[in-house]
Symmetry: C2
Subunit: 347 residues, 2 copies
């Protein structure tokens, strides 16, 4: 197990903002990009957290990420928004898109944005949560580099293609944020570093045979979650996002993990206002259904049934109080970036 | 194994139409409802096929399905369609909704319909396939009676909540149609009748323990596919459909399996025209990506990689040629229904 440094979220965020501003980001862009990274660390998704900051900085230095770029929003119809991220920060374009379709959905009932030329958006939860807390159903889809094999195949040909869903209820937003891969690339690396076996069914080796050996898995590909159904869902997301945002498919997707290539993935944000159809009264019905699920009779040895998002919220509450636990090597790397940027070295 | 009767699809369809018309369905409604049942049998989904005809007839006789009802379509905005199925046939309301949002999407880019007071829609594939073949991305969601337990729970509290996705490509429509349950109730019954064990991970017994015994599974609940992720997706579908269509959740859903209660499930149809965003040229890119997947290098012992919908199409081609294989007991029951209806008894 790597040694961990427990860092207050505010200190981690301040470091990240300093580094991004020193790299050329206007303060508002630095704040938005930072919030997405910190939220991932707070919610227990380190693969989308500050560990991506060195990659972002390298991408800026290499000229494939324009830190000051403002997204260009063009309504093709009343309800269809075309977003050109202008090679800027993913979360800047994504929040602009999500906010715009939410506002339009409040008037029209439904609106959709497709985003291209934009960097990695990070977790999808913050976007759809923000929509759902504003009373609007939010659905977010995004593509990624090819890391997932099709069932029966042995090479990575699909992205991890996550889906985020936010649904308003009177007891707070329901928030789903899940990739269609059985495990993340980061978790496979973490298992390898800790000399731990993977759970079964998460990956295949270079021959296409299921493996629990993280080193063999790294030479192979990640499996889709849930077999052919998870594959089908991930493929549907890959096709919808590419078609609507006119972005790349499969191995043509670059620029989210590497530091040298343009970002060719896409994002789609859909907002739906349930009140347009009269669904106002249903928000409390949803809340009582979710509460009934949480109180449902459990299987032997199970403490309680959870709703998607519950664990994330619990983790966040703990981390806001006690700090984010960064592997010490990562934190030292971040401190070095901060020093290079001319910031504080005791953040 | 039950004995099977191989029946030409046209004969099965003619029988179904006669029975539905005798039960009071106008010819056009009988044709639409029949096409959905026959398509399911042709595509290898008997649980959504003619085996549902006796239930439909009983529901009509019991006054909970109005065979002549015409759906009432009301546009709440330019792009949000409210559909009251008026307790009529599910496919009649569903096709009316899907066709209307497809036409509207061609003008506006995106349109959504929510359907309530409508019977079981059958397979989702025919709806989204029809949209995709017309150049429009189609997404269909529907709810069902509670048959699925949440992870860690031991009672059925969620529907099987399927999702259908159709995406146009120049090599034909991509069609995904999958439930979020790990197995169908019908397959569990079929395993029990054949004294076969279930594959692992498909169901739990009444205590919430995973079981491969179909009899114990029938006393328990079906598992979501893919663990917590499949559960999350199914729950998101349950919430979105109920909220937008103002229909029932969980155990409040009735009227798709029983013959006495009103249908309280809902459906949602979303249509998106990619050409509004300029995605025209991408349809051939999608086709070549799908072809590349089909030709992808395979794991040992695997003949080839498949795309969702491939098996359905293969099965359909075989069945159109050689007929639909009905369990003999079912076919005899259908012939009896047909005689009662005054139709031919040698169909």
């Amino acid at each position: 197990m790597p040694e961990l440094s427990e860092i207050p979220a505010n200190d981690a965020a301040a470091l990240c903002e300093r580094v991004l501003r020193a790299a050329g980001a206007p303060p508002s862009h630095a704040t938005v990009q930072t919030s997405l990274l910190i939220e991932a660390d707070l919610r227990g998704r380190p693969s989308h957290g500050l560990q991506r900051l060195p990659t972002l900085v390298a991408r800026i230095r290499n000229g494939v990420l324009a830190p000051g770029a403002a997204p260009r929003l063009t309504w093709r119809t009343d309800v269809m928004l075309d977003v050109d991220g202008a090679d800027g920060f993913g979360p800047v374009a994504a929040f602009a898109a999500a906010d715009a379709v939410a506002a339009r959905a409040r008037r029209k009932g439904v609106a959709l944005a497709a985003v291209r030329n934009s960097s990695h958006v990070g977790m999808l939860a913050p976007y759809v949560e923000s929509l759902a807390e504003g009373g609007v159903v939010g659905i977010a889809l995004t593509t990624s580099e090819a890391l997932v094999h099709p069932p029966g195949g042995r090479t990575a040909l699909l992205g991890t293609n996550p889906i985020g869903v936010g649904v308003p209820s009177t007891a707070g937003a329901f928030v789903l944020d899940m990739s269609t891969a059985a495990i993340s690339a980061g978790e496979i690396i973490a298992h390898e570093q800790r000399h731990m076996q993977l759970p079964p069914g998460r990956a295949v080796d270079a021959e296409g045979l299921s493996t629990t050996d993280p080193t063999r898995a790294r030479a192979g590909a990640i499996s889709p979650f849930g077999g052919p159904k998870g594959y089908g869902l991930g493929l549907a997301i890959e096709l919808i996002v590419a078609l609507l945002s006119r972005t790349a498919l499969g191995r043509d997707v670059t620029g989210t993990l590497d530091v040298e290539l343009p970002a060719t993935k896409g994002d789609v944000f859909l907002a739906i206002d349930p009140t347009v159809l009269g669904g106002d009264g249903h928000a409390s019905y949803l809340a009582s259904y979710l509460e009934m699920l949480r109180l449902a009779p459990t299987a032997p040895g199970v403490e309680r049934v959870r709703i998607p998002g519950d664990r994330m919220r619990e983790e966040r509450a703990v981390r806001v109080g006690s700090g984010i636990r960064y592997p010490q090597a990562l934190w030292l790397e971040l401190l070095a970036l901060d020093r290079e940027a001319g910031g504080s070295d005791d953040a």
